[in-house]
């Protein structure tokens, strides 16, 4: 399943470069701040994480992302565009599961807004993750 902000599987480098190219078409942008969240191969009790399976409450994700974008636009006047993508389903260690890209006229607002969006996503997005180990056992986070 795919919608505005959720993507099935990992976020590819192609997606990232397409967004950069899209921003390049706007001549009022002076700064693009990109955050990419990557799945870490943590080791728990001697077992290594090989992947994370994400699940989400799709309708509520859409509503929460809209709220986040709206509050950021109110707080930072210099923002040109905000892109947010989160994975659902299986994402292997080393792959990207979260993308936040803020384009602004100048770097300060781009960097501050991007940082704030990532924190708001962590706190407010109804997304859950199941860490899957190399022996196929799992733990919910």
């Amino acid at each position: 399943m795919e919608d505005n902000y959720l993507i099935s599987g990992p976020i590819s480098g192609i997606t990232v470069s397409q967004l950069v190219e899209k921003a390049g078409k706007r001549m009022d942008i002076g700064a693009n701040m990109i955050f990419l969240g990557q799945v870490r191969a943590d080791v728990l009790d001697g077992k290594r994480v090989k992947a994370i399976e994400y699940s989400a409450y799709h309708e509520m994700v859409t509503a929460e992302v809209e709220k986040i974008k709206s509050s950021i636009r109110n707080e930072f006047s210099d923002i040109n565009s905000i892109e947010i993508l989160h994975s659902t389903g299986m994402v292997n260690a080393g792959e990207t599961s979260l993308l936040v890209m803020v384009s602004a006229g100048h770097r300060q607002h781009a960097m501050q807004a991007c940082n704030k969006i990532v924190e708001l996503i962590k706190a407010n997005l109804p997304v859950w993750k199941k860490e899957i180990f190399e022996d196929n056992s799992h733990v919910w986070k």
Binding site: G37, Y54, S55, A56, Y57, E59, M60, A63, H86, S97, L98, V118, I121, K122, A123, N124, L125, P126, V127, W128, K129, K130, W140, K141
Partner: protein, 77 residues
């Protein structure tokens, strides 16, 4: 009247299904008791409840067609 209950994260494992339907539940608190009767293990988990996408409390009345979600702590990113 029937309401739809969505179990997310670990709670889907506890209940054995992502979606269940319950009949004749008057309030969120009433529904919670019914769910605890069906899945006693659920009391060991921390979760919030939303009704039609809005996080709510146990006093809220339910009506037919409501969508209730049981949501463990969020873990995105």
């Amino acid at each position: 009247m029937t309401v739809k209950v969505l179990f997310f994260g670990v709670l889907a494992e506890v209940s054995g299904a992502a979606i269940k339907h319950y009949n004749d539940t008057k309030s969120v608190g009433d529904l919670k008791i019914r769910i605890q009767d069906d899945f006693p293990e659920i009391v060991h988990y921390n979760f919030r409840i939303s009704v039609n996408g809005v996080i709510t409390n146990e006093n809220v009345k339910l009506k037919s067609g409501d969508e209730i979600a049981l949501m463990p702590p969020f873990a995105g990113g």
